[in-house]
């Protein structure tokens, strides 16, 4: 079995990328991370010995063909799943050692997710979907309402609080999803093809929005995409093939 490359590949646009010296630990430090689904003859190795460091405030794009392990990697980074092997550190904490309750707290307080399909609750309004994320905290109703209004304002949907997802355009739905991801002030934003279901113009708009938020809030953004144009917006692009990080970004 070939050895995986722990090297990250710089995006063409990221000229001479050198993360600034930071006394704090990197956002992510992965070493020898593997993920195997199933067992025996039906076992599928989705990730194979991934080694990766993502600095605080970095915008990283992960690209690769379908089945290359992009989504699996994102799920491990998002504490949605556990690696079969290796070590995954988030802000210095080993995700492998955390119990379910701690992982839940981590997802609530530290990580924000944006999905390709938006994944909004269809029965809740735009405001309700954002509140669903805040409802897991100890904020009271008034505080939640203020926070929802603030987030909708940030994503430019101030007048759409009472609209159901079915009453919003794709771009608006994704903005709601971004607002929901930001609801609890995460330090990491994980986006799984956030522009994949949008037309080109709306996709660009969403990408600009994400970049703005990352810049404004100092978030670490890890984004999966098939789209080279989207990947080029990142400071660093990581290409996956057959569950391994491969050399080269294009």
């Amino acid at each position: 079995m070939p050895q995986s490359s722990p090297q990250a590949v710089r995006a063409p646009s990221a000229v001479a990328y050198t993360p600034e010296p930071d006394p704090q630990p990197a956002t992510y430090e992965l070493s020898g991370v593997s993920k195997v689904y199933g067992s025996g003859s039906t076992a599928v190795r989705a990730l194979d010995g991934i080694g990766l460091t993502i600095a605080r405030g970095e915008f990283v794009a992960i690209i690769g063909a379908s089945g290359s392990g992009k989504t699996t990697l994102l799920q491990l980074l998002g504490a949605l799943d556990r690696a079969s092997d290796g070590r995954t550190l988030l802000n210095g904490r080993d995700l492998q050692t955390l119990d379910e309750r701690e992982l839940t707290r981590l997802r609530r307080d530290t990580i924000g997710f944006v999905f390709q399909q938006f994944n909004l609750v269809p029965t809740l309004t735009a405001g309700g979907n954002i509140e669903a994320a805040i409802a897991t905290t100890k904020q009271d109703g008034r505080q939640r309402a203020e926070r929802v209004a603030e987030l909708l304002e940030i994503v430019g949907l101030a007048g759409r609080a009472d609209h159901l997802p079915s009453q919003l355009s794709g771009g608006e739905q994704q903005r709601v999803a971004i607002a929901r991801a930001l609801a609890n002030g995460p330090s990491v934003l994980l986006a799984d093809e956030p522009t994949g279901n949008l037309d080109s113009a709306t996709g660009d708009e969403i990408l600009r929005e994400l970049k703005r938020l990352v810049a404004d809030r100092g978030l670490t953004l890890v984004l999966i995409t098939h789209d080279a144009k989207v990947a080029s917006a990142a400071l660093r692009t990581i290409r996956l093939r057959d569950g391994r990080i491969v050399e080269g970004s294009n």
């Binding site: 989504t71 799920q75 998002g78 949605l80 799943d81 379910e100 309750r101 839940t104 707290r105 997802r107 609530r108 307080d109 924000g112 997710f113 999905f115 399909q117 994944n119 609750v121 269809p122 029965t123 809740l124 309700g128 509140e131 669903a132 994320a133 805040i134 409802a135 897991t136 109703g141 939640r144 159901l164 929901r180 991801a181 609801a183 609890n184």
Partner: protein, 501 residues
């Protein structure tokens, strides 16, 4: 509260699923309401039939029946020595007229009273009955057969010669065949039953105010010679309120006409107990004690105590009398008793199963949503609470729908005028009655009226039943919610998010 907002949004916006699941529970609840309502209706119908048997407030009747043994010789040979002794004292010279002393051609008009079948006992024993633990109230009554003889004494000419042949005794001289004739007279006999009731305790009396259809009930301040007559007797004798009847030479005013409903203990005439006792020479004697227990739950224990404490007492409870009722009403009641509970249990289990499957199906369709909630920081507990909250809402809705359907079913059933037949086997006051020493039989005694009647079934749903049904639906919803939420809680967020919907 966001949790509530989310639950309501789910119930409102996934209306089809909500209503379908609620209907699943509602069917079970409606079944419970209808079966219980019907069971109540059947109970009420049976109680209607039994009411005249038991009296308004009577839980049991205590009598001291004649004890009959087999193999005795003669009319009295089958009686126990004690019963024979008491009967002898009660009967005295026997009913009728002593023709030997009657003068031919003279007019007679006389009443003779005899106990209607049960041995009488002193009214003072009622005080002992009151002292039995669990006894609330006791009232005595006395039912007598009044044999009325009237007419002209015939001339009797009987000749009988002595013979030398052995008589029936086996030795000595016997009597030859007798010959002679009756002539010149005509005597008619009639009998009727008269019950003396304790008018101070109308609820326990042999005739109750509710049975009086015309006129009024006894008043304590009224004349001692007031009578209430049974409807059938009044018709046969052309009596009405205000009529006068004569009993042993005393004139009684008919103050009321009473029905003798199916299964009722019927006498022809009801008078005040003290009046009858005095008139018939049974001062201080009663033959029945109507007993009311302090609570329905005490009836069996009280019955046992009375049988133990009072020698030769026979205790007839409402349950004993209920066994006399038969017909389609009883069949339906038995069916309801045997199958009703099973039907309810099966219905409720089926409803909960259906609701659980629908809730499970709903959760399966919302796997990605649940995965998303977990991804944004929802804990297992919060997911379980959400699903259970929705199930609870469905349960409440199912309860309301079920109760509505059940009540509508009951209304439709009642509107259809469904009737069942109730039959009551006739019986004398005691077993001794029909074959007793006097041969008077049931016709001349106070008896349970045989026959059958159509009873309208009126199903009824009580508030308690409705509350129970709603609670059942909520319970069903929670079970369904628990089943579904356990599946939701076990979902791994990564796997849930991979699900294609």
């Amino acid at each position: 509260m966001f949790f509530l907002k989310y639950v309501l949004a789910e119930l409102r916006r996934r209306r089809g699923r909500t209503v379908l699941t609620a209907l699943g529970l509602g069917v079970g609840v409606a079944l419970v309401v209808m079966v219980n309502g019907l069971s109540t209706g059947l109970n009420n119908a049976q109680a209607t039939v039994l009411k005249p048997l038991t009296g308004v407030g009577t839980d049991m009747s205590v009598t001291r029946p004649l004890k009959i043994t087999t193999g005795g010789a003669g009319a009295f040979g089958s009686l126990s020595p004690a019963a024979r002794k008491q009967l002898r004292s009660e009967v005295g010279a026997g009913p009728g007229l002593n023709f030997a002393s009657a003068k031919a051609g003279s007019k007679i008009d006389t009443d003779t009273f005899r106990a209607a079948g049960d041995l009488t006992f002193s009214a003072s024993e009622l005080t002992q009955l009151v002292a039995v633990k669990g006894v609330g109230s006791v009232a005595g009554s006395l039912t007598l057969t009044d044999t009325h003889l009237s007419g002209t004494v015939p001339k009797i000419n009987i000749k009988q010669s002595r013979t030398s042949a052995p008589g029936p005794g086996g030795g000595g001289a016997g009597f030859g065949p007798a010959s002679g004739s009756f002539g010149g007279g005509s005597i008619s006999t009639s009998s009727r039953t008269i019950t003396g009731v304790d008018q101070t305790k109308p609820a326990l009396a042999a005739v109750t105010p509710s049975q009086v259809t015309k006129g009024r009930y006894f008043t304590t301040a009224g004349s001692a010679y007031q009578a209430i007559v049974a409807n059938g007797y009044a018709n046969s004798k052309s009596l009405s309120v205000g009529s006068k009847i004569t009993i042993d030479g005393k004139t009684f005013h008919v103050i009321g006409i009473a029905t003798s409903p199916l299964g009722g203990t019927a006498s022809d005439i009801y008078v005040e107990l003290a009046t009858l006792q005095k008139l018939a020479g049974y001062s201080g004697q009663v033959d029945t004690a109507e007993v009311q227990a302090t609570s329905a739950a005490n009836v069996t224990a009280v019955s046992t105590s009375i049988k133990k404490d009072f020698k030769d007492a026979s205790v007839t409870t409402a349950a004993d009398l209920a066994s006399r009722v038969s017909g389609s009403l009883t069949d339906a009641k038995n069916l309801s008793h045997k199958l009703g509970g099973a039907l309810e249990i099966v219905g409720v289990i089926a409803a909960i199963l259906i609701a659980s499957l629908l809730m499970l199906s709903s959760v399966t369709r919302r796997v990605r949503e649940i995965g998303t909630l977990k991804a944004i920081g929802w804990s297992r507990l919060q997911v379980v609470r959400q699903i259970c909250g929705e199930a609870l809402g469905v349960g409440v809705l199912g309860g309301v729908l079920g109760v509505l359907a059940g009540v509508i079913g009951i209304v439709v059933l009642n509107a259809s005028g469904w009737t069942l037949k109730a039959s009551v086997a006739g019986a004398g006051r005691t077993a001794a009655q029909s074959g007793g020493p006097f041969g008077l039989g049931q016709a001349a005694s106070s008896a349970i009226t045989a026959g059958s009647t159509a009873v309208k079934i009126t199903a009824a749903a009580s508030v308690g039943l409705i509350v129970l049904a709603v609670c059942l639906a909520i319970f069903g919803g929670l079970v369904a919610g628990a089943v579904a939420s356990l599946r939701a809680a076990r979902l791994r967020p990564a796997a849930a998010l991979r699900t294609i919907e």
